[in-house]
């Protein structure tokens, strides 16, 4: 990693077909008349963890939800600019949103397993995409649960309701559910903000292992978490990316005064 501003490293408009590479160019987003994102140009490296930090309401989550087009379901929104995932312009007219959301998985602040069995939660994506054989499905579910370190905890009660698990386990189950789709990008929207420290630590360890296989983008209000888990950090403020750099540099020698103010706790 040599560039200090990785988002400037790629010339505008160049499409590189690297799986898991996320490139946003001049992306603007509006909720009705209110502009939530302003000229976001950000390159997110594949197989790394990028943290999005900043005060509440500054557009982090909006940007995250733009990456899998989940904002599409909110009425009266519009956008300009482009976002590419693995080289594909995800807002192009012919893009299959269903396919995009399988490639770009998402985990939410409040864990949201379906009120069904543990197995059925993880099997949900594969079943949506096709009709996997029983053996395939078993293998996919086991693999996803192993990757989230849940397998040993739940292997004897896969048929029990997912809601019988603890909060931290439910959140890891949601990660497993997303992983079962074999995504190239995983989005996490404050995944630990409602979890205790031990559960948080487990998820952070998980992210560290997962980043060898996929691109991870995490929105967090916990600056220590951003410093612990991420390779790069982007600081959002009032809908703009103020600074994007290698995490160590953001937290030790930020170039912009406002970034420093935020990470030292002077506002936000």
């Amino acid at each position: 990693m040599t560039a200090t501003r990785p988002d400037r490293a790629t010339p505008t408009g160049e499409a590189r077909e690297v799986p898991g590479l996320v490139e946003s160019r001049g992306f603007n987003f509006w909720y009705g008349p209110k502009q939530a994102l302003k000229e976001i140009s950000l390159t997110i490296r594949p197989r790394s963890v990028t943290a999005l930090i900043g005060p509440s309401g500054c557009g982090k989550s909006t940007f995250l939800r733009s990456l899998n087009r989940l904002n599409d379901i909110i009425p009266e929104t519009r956008h300009t600019g482009s976002i590419r995932v693995g080289g594909e312009d995800i807002y192009a007219p012919r893009v299959d949103v269903v396919n995009l959301r399988q490639r770009v998985g998402m985990v939410f602040q409040r864990w949201n397993p379906f009120p069904r069995s543990i197995f059925d939660n993880v099997a949900y994506g594969p079943r949506l995409n096709g009709r996997p054989s029983r053996a395939d499905l078993d293998a996919i579910v086991e693999s996803a649960l192993r990757r989230t370190a849940l397998w040993d905890e739940v292997k004897d009660r896969l048929r029990q309701s997912a809601l019988s698990l603890s909060g931290g386990q439910q959140q890891r189950l949601c990660i497993a559910r997303a992983l079962a789709n074999r995504p190239e990008v995983l989005l996490l929207d404050e995944p630990c903000s409602a979890l205790d420290p031990i559960a948080t630590q487990k998820i952070e360890e998980l992210l560290f292992q997962l980043k060898s296989e996929l691109t991870i983008v995490i929105v967090t209000h916990n600056l220590q978490q951003a410093a612990r888990v991420s390779d790069e950090t982007a600081f959002f403020f009032l809908g703009e990316v103020i600074e994007h750099d290698v995490t160590a540099r953001i937290f030790t020698s930020p170039k912009v005064g406002r970034t420093e103010d935020y990470i030292t706790g002077r506002f936000g």
Binding site: P115, R116, G125, L128, S161
Partner: protein, 326 residues
């Protein structure tokens, strides 16, 4: 106590409910009054039940269990059996539910998920308005509009075109007045209840559940099928039960359409009778005491049928809710 000056200055009396405080006279009056109201309801229910059973007692003692199983109903010879009415009440209501529930769920799903915003309010209002139409108006509409259509179009279609006349359920002459007519009118009448409740519970499904499905790559329809409806199913079931309760006790429209015949026929084209209808039809003309008592017994049986059906339904809701949580 209207003239009692500044009750707040009086020392608070020792109170048995520490959470309420209950220091002032106003509080005590209020508590006594609301407690009285709350107690009045079960007392009233017990009183009604007692009165009905007491009035029904002569008939119940005379016919015993046979009152429930006999089809004879002859006031002149003082023979009374309620089996056709029990059968008609249950069958017309269940059939109405089978017709109304899928339709109401469809309406609710459209209103909560697909309907454009500007259309949702007016359309919901119109559907809800179905519940405001008086029963007797439904009956009139049924006699002059529904019956001819059933007689001339629907029944021949079911019997001949679909060839269902070979089954016992759609055989016999198509008079119009029939179990089927009663079920159809009941279905229309309970539809707004089921759909209103379903719509509310569907709209109350948390956004997180919807997003969970969408973020996994579900289409809108898959989201509704996999995340929204399953999450809301307890509430939807509750709405269906509300509709069933309505259907069981509905009197006027059913009386005008069901044909009022003391017979049990498997054919939906045949006339039938319900417990509520027989009471409405015959109470004013009940000639002897046993006849009146038999009608009261019908009322008691209706009460029991309603309680049992509601009990089963509540158990169903409870078990589904428990299964969801476990």
């Amino acid at each position: 106590m209207a003239g009692a000056p500044a009750p707040a200055e009086q020392p608070a009396p020792p109170d048995d409910s520490p959470t309420l405080g209950g220091g002032s006279v106003g509080d005590r009056v209020y508590r006594t009054l609301t407690t009285a109201f709350a107690v009045a309801i079960p007392v009233l229910l017990a009183f009604i039940t007692f009165e009905v059973v007491a009035a029904a007692w002569p008939a119940l003692r005379r016919f015993g269990f046979g009152f429930l199983t006999s089809s004879a109903w002859d006031p002149q010879r003082e023979l009374f059996g309620a089996a056709p009415m029990i059968y008609g009440t249950v069958v017309s209501s269940v059939l109405a539910l089978i017709l109304a529930a899928p339709l109401a769920l469809g309406v609710a799903i459209f209103l909560s998920e697909f309907c454009p915003r500007w259309l949702r309010q007016p359309l919901s209002f119109l559907v809800d308005l179905l519940a405001a139409i008086p029963s007797v108006v439904y009956g009139l509409w049924g006699m002059f509009f529904l019956l001819p259509i059933l007689r001339e179009k629907v029944m021949p279609f079911l019997a001949t075109t679909l060839g269902l006349a070979r089954t016992p359920f759609f055989s016999g002459p198509a008079y119009g007045n029939s179990m089927l007519a009663a079920a159809v009118i009941l279905a229309i009448m309970i539809l707004p209840y089921i759909s209103a409740v379903s719509r509310e519970v569907l709209m109350a499904v948390p956004r997180s559940q919807r997003e969970a499905a969408l973020a996994m790559g579900a289409t809108r329809w898959e989201m509704i099928r996999d995340a929204v409806v399953p999450y809301a199913r307890t509430g939807i079931l509750g709405g269906v039960i509300l509709g069933l309760g309505r259907a069981l006790g509905e009197t006027m429209a059913v009386t005008m359409l069901i044909g009022n015949r003391h017979e049990i026929s498997p054919s939906l084209f045949a006339p039938g009778y319900t417990l509520a209808s027989v009471i409405a039809n015959e109470f004013a003309e009940a000639t002897n005491e046993l006849h009146t008592s038999a009608l009261m017994a019908c009322g008691a049986v209706l009460l029991v049928v309603t309680l049992v059906v509601n009990g089963i339904a509540r158990w169903l809701v409870w078990s589904v809710a428990r299964e969801q949580k476990a």
